[in-house]
């Protein structure tokens, strides 16, 4: 099983490395955007899948980090990489404060409050002069400079994003296997059990929220540097909904599922371009069917199939022993 996993990821990696060679420039743009959204969706995967807290505010922190980067690098002429890191850190701190306040609410009340956050931030992104310059946003953001190279074209961006996405993915997978991951799962499944096992439920929620928002911030910084502009319409409520759908489609508690979900959610509209007028309709029916037939997403389907397969093997093994 382990060999299979390592082999599979190696094949995927090699494929990923050669992908830009066979894609057109336009498809590469779609692909890059997919990877950026994947990083944000990872945060939702962590908050919703691991910790069981549904939040729509990812897009706000994505936007905050994006606008901050744009201001730091363009107006204050801070080195682009440092500007990005600084924006992520500031956003992380803001998210921590907001998390501390919102996590006093439980379940769906928290979710509704997070919608309020989206609304507040989108007003800031339109009207706060210092942050967004004007309602049209900031254009001409300098190119990202990584000290040893400047990321110029989409091809180079693809590799930068690939590295970033792999790092973020491994980070979340590692968390899943440590105390924080288990504590979050206990908060999700049964908060009373969690507290009798010494898990500080409130603190765990705040930390998960902060990490998820920081991942959104990373993705926001990437998005702004990649497109070299920042405008409010990049960070709307719709965006948040589609992040959530990416996670639900792929598998709410699975990193690979989230990756798959991000691809499907960005590629399907491209593939179904000829049915444009029916797209929203198909989309709506799809969501309903998804919730009825695979509530745990594609990863959930795969998981239950492998569980069945393992049971089958076990029974077979037992049968042999009895003979």
């Amino acid at each position: 099983m382990k060999k299979f996993k390592i082999g599979g990821s190696l094949i995927l990696l090699v494929l990923a490395l050669f992908l830009p060679q066979i894609l057109t420039n336009y498809h590469l743009l779609v692909l890059n955007n997919t990877i950026i959204y994947f990083i944000s969706a990872l945060g939702i995967c962590m908050l919703l899948g691991m910790c069981g807290q549904m939040s729509f505010s990812a897009v706000s922190f994505m936007g905050l980090a994006g606008f901050l980067t744009a201001q730091f690098s363009k107006t204050y002429h801070i080195h682009t990489l440092l500007a990005g890191v600084l924006a992520i850190v500031v956003t992380g701190l803001v998210a921590n404060l907001i998390g501390k306040a919102l996590m006093r609410l439980e379940g769906s009340y928290f979710t509704f409050a997070s919608i309020g956050i989206v609304s507040i931030f989108s007003t800031l992104f339109l009207n706060w002069k210092w942050l967004c310059s004007s309602a049209d946003g900031i254009s001409g953001v300098p190119k990202l400079n990584l000290f040893f190279m400047t990321v110029k074209d989409r091809n180079q961006w693809y590799y930068v994003l690939l590295v970033a996405a792999i790092c973020c993915g491994l980070f979340v997978e590692r968390i899943r296997r440590t105390h924080l991951g288990r504590a979050a799962a206990s908060v999700r499944d049964n908060a009373i059990v969690a507290s009798t096992l010494g898990v500080d439920v409130y603190k765990t929620k705040v930390i998960c929220f902060t990490i998820a928002s920081t991942l959104a911030a990373v993705s926001g910084v990437m998005l702004v540097y990649h497109n070299s502009y920042a405008v409010e319409s990049m960070f709307t409520y719709d965006m948040s909904v589609s992040f959530t759908l990416m996670v639900m489609l792929g598998g709410v508690n699975s990193t690979l599922g989230t990756l798959l979900g991000s691809f499907l959610m960005t590629l399907l509209p491209e593939a179904l371009r000829s049915f444009q007028q029916y797209l929203r309709l198909l989309y709506g029916i799809g969501i309903i069917l998804l919730m009825i037939f695979m509530p745990m997403g594609l990863a959930g389907v795969v998981e239950s199939l492998t569980a069945k397969w393992r049971k089958h093997l076990k029974l077979k093994g037992k049968g042999r022993n009895n003979e």
Partner: protein, 250 residues
Amino acid sequence: MSEPILKLNGICKAFGGVVTAQDVNLELYPGEILGLIGPNGAGKTTILNLISGIYEVDDGEICFARKDVTRIKSHDRARMGLARTFQTPRFLQRSNIRDNMLLGTDLANHARFGKSFFQKEDKNFMKEVEELMELTSFTLDWNDDISSIPYGNRKQLEIVRALLTHPKVILVDEPAAGLNQKELERVVLLLHYASKEKNIGIILIEHAMDMVMNTCDRIIVLNFGRLIATGTPQEVSSNQAVIEAYLGRS
């Protein structure tokens, strides 16, 4: 006898107009198994919930390990060494058995979020679990889902998880309910191991009277939130007030 590890002093609790605990006093000593019995609705589980901090007391105080924990949060009490099990076993439903058990070990190790990110997994974990599993003599595939194993095994696993946290006191809520004879014997074995080998104080709620009479060192009887009798199993079973509470006045 040494000093008590857990002490309740005049505990009161009411939900609206329903009084579920009224002036309850009790003491639990290390290594002792204290039975908590009473008819349905006597307020036994409420007492456990008050001790573990799931509910807050209206009046009175709770002392644990020489500290007043009356206003201390549930998770902090757990960190001080207060473990418990539930009437129906409660686990992380969507995790495998291994992760469920590891959560107990995390507590024993005082795991911290940041630190555990860089640490390797605790090697003693498997050794300790295997020791406990040997006692209960059943084998499991650790990577199985917790929901895939039978009810009886889950009930035993919950006690194993409580033991993994290295507690000073375990509160056990109806461990025998729904178990067959063989599983029941294993539960008793685990409880004896905990109290005699590890010197853990245990409060045991149970309806199976023969189990209570055979395992407990001392018994406390509750009725309508009031403590009506306390003593050794023999004393309690011949107590007139207790017989009345269970059978009604003739």
